[in-house]
Symmetry: C2
Subunit: 357 residues, 2 copies
DNA sequence: CTGTTAGCGCTTTCAG
DNA sequence: CTGAAAGCGCTAACAG
């Protein structure tokens, strides 16, 4: 018996004729001469289908140009194979390694990351979460701890795995991968003190996590130090302005912590422009260990956080939970360490570093 | 008659009881005492429903905590309200403003951008396109021109609006928003020549678009100039290495074009480290007009491209086409302009700029 | 303005 | 190993 397909793809069709519709599994099944469900199994659960059948279905797929409709599959199976990810803004370099690792780790497991920008404002966060839920993601990853009680309640009720990241909490919404920002601040302060400096300054972005680091810093060195706060995200331009402000507040300032490396570079440039030597007159420490930090002149002392690891581990938590595994450790502290370079002068005598992991 | 809902949300339930399933439109309809389709219309097409009914449905939505399942809606209506976006790697600063503008413009129209990383390798591109098609996006935006004939054919067959961006072509797959990279290269060359320099160098990433700019540059100033090619994406570290290489090839080099601003900053630092004054001894021009370029010392001459505009216009093309509008101009040249700053010395006597728009 | 009917394309039962 | 039936949650099409 000869089965004539109505769907044979002809590379060249008259004029602009475009196939009225994409091939469905139904078409594939007909082409392969098997039932719909067998075709489905051949593709998504080959273990229970005979090799011969699999081969015929594969061939039919190739002939028809079939691409599974994940919307339909997800509707029935309740698994959309997507994970929602919330970041403040996509253009902050800080989170890029994390987003990249998330994308890649999820991709390797067949999941698609769907990114949303909350924009540093809590109101947007709630709205965005709602939009995201509409796509029925299998998991959700958010930057920072979810503060809004409404949003927390809603996310909990969803019953999907959730990872809060880039921060730490004893009592996360569900799971958390991050590090202690307070500890970062106090560690930098300890590092500065160990070097013998006594006149400090801090330049920080105004977002929650940066402010927390700033508080950790001031808790150790005192709150009446020169302080410059700029709207997040802090960049090079803002760094120049902030350093100008710090020098106005305290012309004899000795050591400055900046809440990002871009910010620190700006501060460094401004200090140099005003005739201060770095680190001769002013020591500068950044945060994030951006790719350029090691290659500046002077190279920049900074706090290294493994953003890619945060993304990888967050993704893995989601993947594991979706696979039904029980998570032994739902609170992961990835730690951080001070990378001492030239911008803070001669190397300190005692090493100062790390957090738990 | 009193309608007792089975779905009344009780804030505090016994132990870990979690609602077995999310509220569906069916639940909302029952709560509101209307039919399923009326509830549907009240939410997505309120114009054709009485105000009283809308109000009742709204109340039912609030009570049940209903969030529409966009997968189900998309399956039936054939509109997933998603747009697929392909970038080489998410972590390249270059495309960030574009991705951001895309996200935001699409979001405002109710669309969700789904991002995929092709990773500078054509093989991944084809595979990624297939994955994306599985989610049945309503449109697609790709960085650069789609080269692979297989991919072009497949995308055309899809019948959804497609925008290629960050490059230009007379014969795009569908629509294109970008600028001429050859022209960028030749314009920079002309700019350098007008300043009186005669010994040139070029440091470039090895991706297609950067190489094209490089060719445009060399087509004007000659192909036998000092040249350093590094693997994309080019960053500060690579810039230092590249400049070291250029100085090795030609110690008397006078003017260098770098394929990105991060790259140029690295080159500048390396030159200064080796005792060359910028712009005194060597003039440097970057590409991209990164946010920091204007605030460096010396400030960096560069080529400004409105990446956000590319994203906005690409998104708008997709949105308009999805709305059934005919696109008057499917080939959009957003142009570029040289932003002359300190790194190329005294301001040129004749202005050099722009492309078509 | 409102309701009924019939699917979208797939996967989960439950039977052979 | 294969198949038939049912339906995920929603909306388009056609009635009233």
């Amino acid at each position: 018996m000869v089965t004539l397909s109505l769907l044979t793809v002809k590379p060249a069709m008259k004029s602009h004729a475009r196939p009225p519709r994409a091939a469905t599994l139904h078409d594939v099944a007909r082409e392969a001469g098997v039932s719909l469900i067998t075709a489905s199994r051949a593709l998504s659960n080959p273990g229970v289908v005979s090799d011969a059948t699999i081969e015929r279905v594969r061939a039919a797929v190739a002939r028809t140009g079939y691409i599974p409709n994940l919307l339909a599959g997800g509707l029935k199976s309740k698994r959309s194979m997507t994970v929602a990810g919330l970041v403040p803004v996509i253009s902050v370099p800080q989170f890029l390694p994390t987003v990249r690792a998330l994308t890649e780790t999820l991709d390797a497991a067949g999941y698609q990351l769907i990114l949303g920008q909350t924009g540093y404002a809590n109101s947007r966060e709630e709205k965005l979460i709602n939009t995201m839920i509409g796509r029925r993601p299998d998991g959700m990853v958010v930057t920072g701890l979810v503060n809004s009680p409404t949003a927390r309640e809603q996310l909990k009720r969803l019953g999907i795995p959730i990872v809060e990241m880039w921060d730490l909490s004893d009592r996360p919404l569900d799971m958390v991968v991050g590090f202690s920002h307070v500890k970062v601040g106090s560690t930098i302060a300890g590092f500065f003190l160990a070097k013998g400096w006594r006149r400090f300054g801090v330049a920080t972005g105004d977002d929650h996590r940066a402010m927390t680091r700033c508080e950790g810093f001031r808790a150790v060195v005192g709150r009446d130090i020169a302080t410059a706060i700029v709207p997040a995200p802090s960049n090079l331009e803002m760094g120049r302005k902030a350093m100008a402000e710090l020098l106005r507040q305290d012309p004899k300032i000795e050591a400055v912590y900046c809440s990002s490396d871009e910010f620190a570079l700006g501060a460094m440039i401004e200090a140099q422009t005003r005739g201060r030597r770095v680190p001769g007159d002013i020591a500068i420490c950044g945060f994030g260990d951006a790719d350029f930090a090691a290659h500046l002149v002077p190279s920049l002392t900074t706090v290294q956080v493994d953003g890619a690891a945060i993304g990888r581990r967050a993704a893995q938590l989601i993947i594991d939970r979706c696979a039904g595994k029980t998570i032994a450790q739902p609170i992961i502290d990835v730690g951080f360490r001070i990378v001492e370079r030239e911008s803070t002068g001669a190397v300190a005598t005692r090493p100062l570093a790390a957090s738990a992991s």
